[in-house]
Symmetry: C2
Subunit: 173 residues, 2 copies
DNA sequence: ATATTGTTGGAAATGATTTTCAATAATATT
DNA sequence: AATATTATTGAAAATCATTTCCAACAATAT
């Protein structure tokens, strides 16, 4: 099967599922498996390991970071599979993808027990990334307001947002 | 001169100048030239043309976009020079660099007459980018507040921020 | 137990960006 | 104004993250 057909089917599957219902599954012990099967995808070992890494290491990992961690446990796994799985998870709405400016994308699980909405501080000198989840209430209020107004004005359906702060971390300033 | 030494010198120059004074020059007719010379850089023709393009086309251009426009007027110019100039301008604080997730960086002049602080809406389907500069006052207040608190808490010196909204544009939803 | 077909790994390809290096052009010096 | 100095440039090659191709494989359906 060509790549185009393969991903065409994936997107189609997701579209159908998402139109039928919110693919929400309670965060029980096997909710990820349920989510995969619910969307018609296979619950394979590589996917399990990648998701386990994402679940345990919550913070902005690059594809290579994930590959290295996964590789330790399951040396047979390929970098390609990591990229493919991340793309699938992104399309499923399970991971967020960030580009902070150093040329490599970062990924984070966006749903699950203990996952909180947050944004990032990025040091322009050493590249260190710090999460912050403070003052979310204030932000949420502004953003919600903003989203409503922007949606109307530009006829744009906003789904997510990212806020990046750039500057110098304690070591570099 | 090796690349490392060359850029070492550039960064050193910038550091010295920026420590001595705010490299601000009133936005007169030749303020860009003054800014360049003031930092010890040469005011070359390629740089002039690139800056002219950035000044006229204000919106989130990729390096290739800029190259193509510049190339029309001065076919001798190389893509390498465009990348190099953009890096220099970024280090001088004259351009902002964005990565919206499609694998290519976007650049915008960040200072000059008529340049306004703004953020972006990005369509996840067609990649269209819309600027918005509405409601900046509300945002500024929150952001300023946030910056102060984050600076203290994480001992992080915030210099800039970016807000990206992702969703579906009017054509794609 | 077997057939079906979605998924995988590795190698090769891609595309944006960076590096190298000799030639050139902007500025400083005479 | 002529020459010396050195920052800057362009083209080709290199690099690096990510994607594609394709034959082998493994998860699920029959």
């Amino acid at each position: 099967m060509t790549r185009e057909a393969y991903y065409g089917i994936i997107l189609l599957k997701l579209k159908i599922i998402f139109n039928k219902k919110e693919p929400f599954v309670p965060f029980g012990p096997r909710w990820l498996e349920a989510r995969f099967r619910g969307c018609g995808f296979r619950w394979t070992f590589p996917r399990q390991v990648i998701l386990d890494v994402l679940t345990k290491e919550k913070k902005h990992l690059s594809a290579e970071d994930i590959f290295l961690k996964v590789h330790k446990r399951y040396p047979g796994i390929g970098l390609t599979t990591v990229y493919r799985t991340l793309e699938l998870l992104f399309n499923m709405g399970l991971v967020r993808k960030y580009e902070f400016g150093d040329g490599r994308a970062r990924f984070e699980l966006s749903q699950g027990p203990g996952i909180e909405h947050h944004h990032h501080l990025i040091c322009r000198k050493c590249g260190k990334i710090i999460d912050y989840k403070d003052f979310v209430e204030d932000e949420q209020k502004l953003i919600k307001d903003l989203e409503e107004r922007l949606s109307k004005k530009h006829n744009f359906k906003i789904e997510t947002h990212q806020i990046h702060f750039y500057g110098l971390c304690s070591n570099c300033s």
